[in-house]
């Protein structure tokens, strides 16, 4: 029950921060970090996959509605939600029967960083490629992917490092 409330709260706060603050960052004209995916990262590790997918779809669509990009964020977010379980399996070793909420403490610092870096990169890559919808400005799109991934990863790790055990 507590976990449910916690996640609803996290959903609302992350979407609000994303659309009201982060989407207005206009540094260099490229920088626009997307930290709302922290919601997907922080879902309990053994949450049924179908539920993760549906939550990801709702999350992505909410961001889409606020930023006039129907389907764009939904697509990228559903993709990382699908890849999440595999990524957790590859990078971490949680015991059978445990269902921790991913963080530095439960995953270990190294594993958690790998987990975040891999998924953020996939998400940003999909997002910016789809946004460009062509290979015409490939160089600039890749630059955007790298810069924004780096900033998103830093912010997410920053938030997580403040978290109590």
């Amino acid at each position: 029950m507590l976990i449910l409330l916690q996640n609803i709260f996290r959903f609302v706060v992350l979407v609000a921060i994303q659309v009201l603050a982060l989407n207005n960052i206009q540094f260099l004209g490229y920088i626009n970090p997307y930290i709302y995916i922290l919601f997907i990262f922080s879902l309990p590790a053994r949450l049924p996959r179908w539920l993760t997918l549906i939550l990801a779809f709702i999350l992505g669509l909410s961001i889409d509605i606020f930023s006039n990009t129907a389907g764009l964020h939904a697509f990228a977010t559903v993709l990382i939600a699908f890849m999440r379980e595999g990524t957790i399996k590859v990078f971490t070793s949680i015991e059978e029967g445990n269902n921790p909420e991913p963080s530095f403490y439960t995953f270990g610092v190294g594993s958690y960083i790998k987990y975040i870096v891999a998924l953020v990169f996939v998400h940003h890559f999909t997002l910016f490629m789809l946004e460009a919808f062509s290979f015409e400005h490939l160089g600039m799109t890749l630059l955007k992917v790298l810069l924004n991934s780096a900033i998103t990863i830093l912010i997410i790790l920053g938030i997580q490092s403040f978290k109590r055990k």
Binding site: L20, N23, N24, I25, Q26, G29, Y30, I31, N32, R49, W50, L53, I54, A56, F57, G60, D64, I65, F66, S67, N68, T69, A70, G71, L72, A74, F75, V78, L79, F82, L130, E131, A132, F133, H137, M140
Partner: protein, 281 residues
Amino acid sequence: MRTLFNFLIRYSVVFLFLILEIISFTLIVNNQGYQRSIFLSTSNSFVAEMYEVSNTVIEFFKLKAANENLSEENTAFKNQIIKLQNELSTLTKNQKKDSIHFRIPPEMEYQFISAKVINNSTNKLQNYITLNKGLVDGIKVDMGVISDEGVVGIIKTVSNRFSVVIPILNPKIQINSKFNHNNYTGTLIWSGDDYRYANLTDIARHVEFSLGDSLVTSGFTNTFPEGIPVGTIEDFNIKESDQYYSIKIRLAVNFRTLSYVKVIDYLNYKEQRTLEKVSEN
């Protein structure tokens, strides 16, 4: 049959994944076109209202600049009123009051509806602006939007109290514009990277112009009246083999600080459109 059933259950998550991705992708593809459902955009009233609340906070910090702008505009208007009053007083003497056929005089064809920007982006590939006026204020799809500085964009979707503008900073629209001094027209398209610049195409090799020349709307489309500033020439080049110049335009409007705009209501729009349609058929 049983194996098929087992197969479906086993891969149900994969199917769910594929279905969700297909839905998203369909939305993206449909979104490429010009028209889109109001439901999934910021003219949706819930979303727009949220933006309005957040905007009241941000607005506070822009008050000073806005004030200066307004007072400047005010003086300009006052000057204009005095000028018009003078003209009027000379004209009223010899005017007869027998006109039965009501006609909108050419100088009153355009009316302005002022609106406030409540959401705005400049760093995406396809940017949009949300305004706090909608159907009830008389705003309709395809109306032009300008600010005190120059052309902003065109109204795309309208709900009862809000509307969404496609600004020049979106490759979905192209603004037909011309040089102020020699009337050669070209098409203005945003390049997609810098919010200060756009590209002008269709200017042929023989046209003469120089850096700093100003560009205004052509008046050929019925969204903008003639002569509204679009920008100035920043840079240009032409290859040996090309027929047309590629020209870089510095836009007149600063889209980052945009806070108040005017929507243009062209009163003869309907009549002109119907006439044009009739002759096209």
